[in-house]
Each structure stands twice: as C-alpha cells, then as structure tokens.
C-alpha cells in the first residue's frame, strides 16, 4: 500500500496549498476593512495602525445624515422587505407543497428563470414608471414593494425544500380533529417550518440591507437614502472620499450582516438545503 500512502500524502499537501491560495484570494481584498477604520490617517494601504483609535467612529457618529441612513432608513427597508418576503414566500411554498399542482417543480423553476431575466437595470426602466404612476417615488413603500417582487421567486425556491421536508401527519391529524385550514397552518404547520422562515427572512434582510440600485433609482430626497448611498456624505466637494470615515462607516454597515451570518451558521449551518434540482 506504499503507493496509496504516497498518493494520500501528495493529495493532502495539494489540498493545503489550494486552501492557502483560496484563503488568500478571498481574504486579502477584505483586509483593508479591518485596519483602515482604526487608523486616524488611513489611505488605501493595509497597515496595522501603531495606535489604534476609535476617533473615526466618533466622527462618523457626528454625521447625523449617515447615521440616520444606517440606523433608521436601512432598518425600515430591511425590515419591510424581510416581513413581506418571509410571510408571502412561506404561504406560497406551503400552498404549493400541500395542494396538488400539476408540474409544480417546473413552475417554480420557470418562475426563478423569469425573475432572473426581468431583473437589474433592464427591469428598473418599466418599474420606475410603474412606481411613478402609483405615486410611490421617493417612498419607502415603493422600494420595499419592488425589492419584494424581485426576491419572492428565490424566496419561494428556498422555502420549498423546508416545507417539503416536514412530515404531514401532524397536519392531517389536526384536520381530522376538526381544525380549519388556516388554524391548522397557524398552530401546527407554522411552528414546524419556522427554521425555514428564519433563513428566508435573514436572506431577504441581508439583500435589502446591501441594495444600491433600486433605492438609488426610486428615492429622491437625501433624508430617505439608505446607507449604501449615504457613503457619498463622506466625500469632499471635489468628489474624493474621506477614506478614514468611509472605512469606519463601511465597518459599521457590515457588522449586522456578519452577525446574521454567524447566527444562521451556528443555528442551521450555512448551506443549501436539499440541493437544487434541475
């Protein structure tokens, strides 16, 4: 078995080298976010500050506009999209799972493809006019509705595997005992699919939290802008960014996403459930 041992040692060494290269490629572009916020003279270099300081964060917190964008506007947008996507996707995937719908997997697949086609700036042209005609330009509601419409198909796709994986016997028992369909959903089925609802909710929140294109097209007044656009308040009149403040603001803006990732990873493991079928 000598040949076998040589082969495993070589493959282990290869894996180590591969893991090192991949870690470097994915970590190096992010290092700046860990050093610059704590340096009072940050430039674009990654350099551990000799005397780490929180002065940048103090300066960021004095920018009322940017702070309101982050702690108010972003929470409204993220929260609104999260509630709508999670609730509607849960209802829809549950309905799809528990009703006899012919060709249901194909339908969901087509829906995903269709939503991937009608997306991005191409979709923003007619969507802008729609929101304009509804009188919802420069409102959070307009942004929340458009983002929800874009995320729903994928949300249903993610939920579907959760809903399909829970056994039906409890639900059947509840119906036999005389519960109405909606009572049964609320009291029996919903508690069972709750982990899935949480994952979809967090996924929707993170998407809305980072969004740039949709709010920048649909919102007008500066006081409504979310954090992704409020970065421009750290630019000088000449249009160059104040890097120390930008990095500190970027750091604050990223923390909630990191926390949510850790929660999901710890509670459920961050992975795709069931595998995506073709």
């Amino acid at each position: 078995m000598n040949r076998y041992r040589i082969r495993t040692t070589t493959s282990r060494a290869l894996l180590l080298v591969f893991a090192f290269i991949m870690s470097a490629f994915f970590a190096l572009p992010l290092l700046w976010l860990l050093t610059a916020p704590f340096s009072t003279q940050a430039n674009l270099a990654v350099k551990i500050p000799e005397t780490p300081s929180l002065a940048n964060f103090e300066a960021v917190f004095r920018n009322k506009f940017a702070i309101r964008a982050l702690f108010q506007n972003n929470l409204i947008l993220g929260g609104g999209v999260m509630v709508l996507v999670a609730s509607i996707a849960t209802l829809a995937s549950y309905g799809l799972s528990r009703t006899r719908v012919p060709g249901r997997d194909v339908l969901v697949y087509i829906l995903i493809l269709f939503s991937s086609v009608v997306s991005g700036t191409a979709a923003m042209v007619p969507l802008f006019l729609l929101i304009f005609n509804l009188g919802l330009i420069d409102t959070y509601l307009g942004v929340i509705l458009v983002m929800t419409g874009g995320l729903l198909p994928s949300g249903i796709f993610i939920m579907r595997d959760f809903v399909d994986s829970i056994p039906r016997s409890y639900e059947e028992a509840a119906l036999v005992a005389g519960a109405s369909s909606f009572r049964m959903f609320r009291d029996v089925a919903f508690p069972l699919v709750r982990p899935g609802v949480m994952v979809v909710a967090i996924w929707a929140f993170v998407n809305a939290w980072g969004a740039f294109l949709i709010p920048s097209v649909l919102l007008r007044s500066p006081e409504h802008m979310p954090a992704s656009i409020a970065f421009y308040s750290f630019y000088t009149e000449a249009g160059t960014p104040n890097l120390t403040l930008v990095s500190a603001y970027a750091f604050l803006y990223t923390i909630p996403v990191l926390l949510l990732y850790l929660i999901v990873n710890w509670r459920f493991g961050f992975r795709f459930f069931g595998g995506i079928k073709s």
Binding site: T121, A122, G274, I276
Partner: protein, 302 residues
C-alpha cells in the same frame, strides 16, 4: 414519492394569492410594459414626459446604428464587453471556482474547509458598496495589497483600474459570486452515494477520472442549472458600476450600466432604455432556452 394533497385547490390558491399578485405586478407587468415603452419617445422630463409619442422602431434603429455601434459607450461595445465579462467572471470565474472549491473539499471536514468556506461566503454577503471600496483599495496602484505582493516578487505595479479595467471587474466579480456555485455544488455532491466513489477508488481511478466518470455525469443537471442562473445574474449585474463607474472612457460599460446611463442619467431616455431592456431580456431568454434544451437532451438520452 407521491405527494398527498392536504388542501383543496381553492384553499391552496388562497395561500398562493399574495405571491401571484406580486409576480403579476412586479414581474409580468414590467415585462409587457417595457415592450410598449420601447416604441415610444418617453422621457422623464420635458414635453415627451406626459405625452410620449409612438416612434415605431426608432429606438431600435438608434441602438443598431452600425456606423458607430462598436465605439466605446455605444450599444455594440457594451454587448461585447458584457460577453467578455460573462465568459470570464461567470463561466470561468464563478462556476469554475465554485466547482473547484466544492470538489476539493468533498467529504472533508475540519478547520481548513470551514475557513475557506467562510471567507468565500463573506465575499458574497458583505454589502456591495463596501466590497467596492475594499477592492478599490486592494487594486490601488501605489498602496494596494495586490501590487504590494506583485512588487515583492518583482512583477511591478500595474495600474489595474486604469490599464486593465475589464480584467479588474472580471476578477472582482469572480471573487464576489463564487459562493453561490460553491454552495450549490457542495450540496449536490452530498447526493452522490459514497459507494460509487469507493468502488472507483478501489479500481484505482485518479482524481480526473473520478471527476469525469462519476461527478460530471451525475451532476450535469446541477452544473447546467448553476450555469443558467449565474449567466443570467452576471448579465444583469450592476455592482461593477460601484468599482469603475463604467470607465475609464466607458471601457467597463456593461449593458446594465449602459441602460442605467441611458434611462436614469442625462436625458432620462426611457424609450431608448426600454429598447435596450427588451434586447437584453430577449438575449437572456435565448440563453435560458439553450441551457434548458441541454438539460432536456440529457433526460431524453439519459
């Protein structure tokens, strides 16, 4: 497995109704509306804002004006740049890298896998404005980490965002989106029965033979699904705008950025923007159909 129905069609429809309403208003309606829009001279401001006129194929003629359409900042140029971007960052970058990572850590557990997976996922979930800033820093000619490393091994300090802007956004987008393919393939790999691999190993198959004869045929459906989604998403992605603004000199102006500049800047030409959107959606549909027919062919022969 036969699924038993718990609800009647009527109750099932009530559960589906909110989702159907959203799909109708925010996906189907815009899709139809954009076709009509593309035949008018609608703008945001000025006289054509309240009363757009029907202009027939004028917008399309302006897009396909072959005397100038390959110039930087024109439609043909944007299509060419987008094609290079999709091939480089979607097909090779994201799908290739995702498959490679998932395969390398197949049936492996431990710190190494956790570390790599976490880093790849972080690149995917951190807000796009933030990663745009960190990449501007990473690629900076004088201070950037990338050039610090290249300089240390004697490769000089190229000015990435000015001299090689397209390569820069391709590298950036591969980095940004590899996580989706990696996660999809790693959950797909788990569905392969371990006995297949063990049998192949006993028979002395090497890594490439295992990939070619076991993984590839069994995962073909997953690979094609991943290819469709990643291709469409990359075709429509707007994030590179935050890195380069489409420049320098429109050399990274993807079709998504060209649409944005046409419809939401300057003259706000919605009619022309609509025509671009129609062409983009038709290309996307054609790509989706090609991939779908490849999947079906497998079913027929498989």
């Amino acid at each position: 497995m036969e699924r038993r129905a718990i609800f009647s069609a009527k109750v099932g429809f009530l559960f589906l109704a909110p989702a159907l309403a959203f799909v109708a208003v925010f996906l189907l309606y815009p899709f139809v509306r954009v076709f009509l829009l593309s035949f008018t001279n609608q703008t945001l401001l000025g006289t054509t804002a309240p009363n757009p006129e029907w202009v027939g194929f004028d917008n399309y003629r302006r897009l396909f004006d072959f005397d100038r359409w390959m110039r930087l900042g024109e439609f043909g140029s944007a299509l060419k740049i987008t094609t290079q971007f999709v091939i480089g960052s979607a097909l090779i970058g994201q799908v290739g890298l995702g498959l490679l990572i998932a395969w390398a850590f197949y049936r492996k557990k431990g710190v190494l896998r956790e570390a790599v997976y976490t880093l790849v996922i972080l690149a995917w979930i951190i807000p796009e404005t933030v990663v745009a800033f960190t990449w501007v820093a990473f690629l900076d000619r004088d201070f950037g980490t990338l050039n610090a490393l290249l300089d240390a091994v004697g490769l000089g300090r190229p000015d990435w965002l000015f001299k090689h802007p397209l390569e820069s956004i391709i590298l950036f987008n591969s980095w940004r989106g590899a996580a989706f393919s990696m996660l999809l393939f790693s959950s797909a790999l788990e569905t392969i029965p371990p006995s297949y691999i063990e049998t192949a190993e006993v028979a002395g198959a090497n890594a490439w033979q295992k990939f070619r004869d076991i993984f590839f045929p069994l995962l073909r459906g997953h690979i094609l699904t991943d290819l469709i989604l990643i291709t469409l998403w990359t075709f429509n992605v707007f994030t590179p705008f935050l890195l380069t603004g489409g420049g320098p000199a429109r050399r990274t102006e993807l079709v998504s950025i060209y649409t944005y500049r046409t419809a939401f800047h300057g003259q706000h030409e919605f009619g022309k923007g609509g025509a671009i959107a129609v062409v983009m959606m038709l290309i996307n549909f054609a790509l989706a159909l090609i991939y779908l027919s490849l999947i079906r062919r497998r079913r027929v022969h498989g």
